[in-house]
């Protein structure tokens, strides 16, 4: 029973990071119908900015804020300068552009920051809390991970649900032409959307890096799991992204914890889960395609 609880906690902590990354993908997919393959390397770039600040003697928190802000600027710039010219054209063009950007940014990180492994700090301890004489894998760091993602999600929900800008962003995402006819400056909303998505992506990059090592391609496994989580959830649904991330995190943790030599099967398990979900519900668990068609 203890073992089950431990494996579950580990799964949730990992899963919520997948959720954050998936959410970043979903935010961009909803507003521009583009799958942003560059999300991972954009997040890695901001993590390296944070690392540079920490190595220069700044506190983790200063580095965190600067990284998130630079994530916003990077996301907005990428939309304005690189994505805008291919928007509205054939869908494949934008996909190829984001793939190219993925490779380019990763190479740029290696050129600027080097390609060696560097340790990335975490602001809280990584020793588990003591419950009754035994140590559980719930650490101050995992509480920080879960808490920061939940706070970010709550802020996003509040933005979209209760503010005028949020309403304008949703209108632009669902129907660009109608929104323009109603006087909404759709271009600005798309830039803002990419910026916010990049902030959430950056957060996931910083969290997965915490207490471990970073190198230019350190986001690669998170990219795969984040994509799987987003597609399980339906790619169109923010709630789906979050649930998809948690389901995937838990499932992979159980595979790792209960299956013999499970750690080698984790990546395979992610793809098996993806295939099963798509076979049962081709649009993903929280797909709203039927509602849209009506």
């Amino acid at each position: 029973m203890d073992y089950f609880v431990n494996v579950t906690i580990t799964g949730l902590t990992q899963g919520i990071i997948y959720s954050a990354f998936a959410l970043a993908l979903v935010l961009i997919w909803r507003s521009t119908r583009i799958v942003n393959f560059a999300q991972g390397s954009m997040a890695a770039a901001t993590t390296f900015i944070a690392l540079a600040l920490i190595q220069a003697g700044q506190s983790y928190w200063v580095a965190l804020v600067v990284a998130l802000v630079s994530g916003f600027v990077l996301g907005a710039l990428v939309e304005r300068v690189i994505i805008r010219p291919v928007e509205g054209g054939p869908e494949l063009n934008a996909v190829i552009v984001t793939l190219g950007l993925f490779v380019a940014i990763q190479a740029l990180i290696a050129i600027i920051f080097g390609s060696s492994f560097q340790s990335f700090p975490t602001p809280f301890g990584v020793r588990g809390f003591q419950v009754g004489g035994s140590t559980i894998p719930l650490t101050p760091t995992s509480l920080y991970v879960i808490g920061s993602v939940l706070i970010t999600m709550a802020l996003l929900v509040a933005l979209f649900r209760f503010t005028r800008v949020g309403l304008a962003m949703r209108a632009s995402a669902f129907s660009q032409e109608v929104a323009r006819l109603l006087g909404v400056k759709v271009g600005g909303m798309l830039t803002l959307g990419w910026g916010l998505a990049a902030v959430v992506g950056s957060l996931s990059g910083l969290l997965i890096a915490g207490g471990g090592f970073v190198y230019p391609a350190y986001m690669d496994s998170l990219i795969v799991f984040g994509f799987v989580a987003a597609i399980i959830g339906g790619l169109d649904s923010p709630v789906g992204a979050i649930v998809g991330g948690l389901i995937l995190g838990l499932a992979l943790s159980y595979v790792n914890g209960y299956v013999e030599r499970g750690s080698a099967l984790v990546s395979v398990a992610a793809l098996v889960i993806l295939i099963v979900v798509l076979l049962v519900r081709p649009g993903g668990l929280f797909s709203s395609t039927t509602a849209r068609r009506a």
């Binding site: 209108a171 032409e177 006819l181 109603l182 006087g183 909404v184 400056k185 509602a291 009506a294």
Partner: protein, 257 residues
């Protein structure tokens, strides 16, 4: 103040010949648009006056929808100009049109299906900043059927309810010119009569100018003051709605009834 009131009253009645220059809210002069090599509009000129419904009629492919899309900037013309209340808006951005007093309800109802009825209305009022609750209540009073469903997603509405929602949403922009693209499409005749009747009341009460694009020429002419018949991107005839209604040859040739 008294003078302003006087002139509003004049423009609201709007039928006396002497005020023609001041009541021509929207003027389209020699407008041409093309999709690649295909010319969809070929030197179209017309005007829409305050307090009047101007119906643009014609068969499928006559250029009716392109005309509205060119007026509101969604399609850029290759020649000609669009003047709104004396100001040349040919090159103005689509987003700025509602702020200038022109609202465009596109073909296919233009509801944002994923948002609720209430959110749809709020998007329509966003550009005006703070808008009082009484203005939303007024729209709901006009259309009690959508008031009952204000918290439902717009994709759950029927065709008629969607049309009510988009007209109500356009009214929240407080336009002086309203461009309506095929509001009768796919609606039961009873609903069409109801919506057109309401449109007439609004135009008469508020001096609104409506440019109504319709394939359903009979219904449109029954509510309109002026009719403009388009064929293959050109204006064939412009005349009062009653005259067009009485011209059997024209009706057979272009309007299909």
């Amino acid at each position: 103040m008294a003078e302003t009131h006087g002139s509003t009253a004049m423009s609201a009645t709007g039928t006396t010949g002497g005020t023609a220059t001041t009541t021509r809210l929207l003027e389209v002069e020699g407008l041409s648009s093309a999709y690649g090599p295909v010319r969809a509009l070929d030197g179209v000129s017309l005007s829409a006056e305050a307090g009047r419904i101007t119906a643009v009629l014609g068969a499928n492919g006559a250029g009716k929808t392109t005309l509205l899309r060119t007026i509101s900037g969604l399609v850029r013309p290759v020649a000609g100009r669009v003047v709104l209340d004396g100001e040349d808006i040919t090159k103005a951005s689509v987003e700025s049109m509602v702020g200038r007093g022109m609202a465009h309800v596109p073909e296919g109802r233009g509801v944002i299906a994923e948002l609720t009825v209430d959110e749809n209305l709020r998007v329509g009022a966003l550009f005006r900043g703070k808008v009082g609750k009484d203005e939303f209540d007024r729209v709901y009073d006009l259309f009690p059927r959508i008031a009952e469903r204000r918290n439902n997603a717009a994709h759950t509405l029927s065709g008629g309810e969607r049309q009510m929602l988009v007209i109500g949403r356009a009214l929240l922009a407080k336009p002086r010119v309203l461009l309506l693209d095929e509001p009768s499409l796919g609606l039961a005749p009873r609903i069409v009569a109801q919506i057109f009747g309401l449109l007439r009341q609004l135009v008469d009460a508020e001096g609104l100018s409506v440019l109504l694009v319709e394939q359903n020429a009979r219904s449109a002419l029954s509510v309109a003051d002026v009719g403009v018949v388009l064929n293959l991107g050109r204006v064939v005839v412009t005349d009062s709605a009653s005259t067009l209604m009485g011209d059997e040859d024209l009706r057979h040739a272009y309007l299909g009834f």
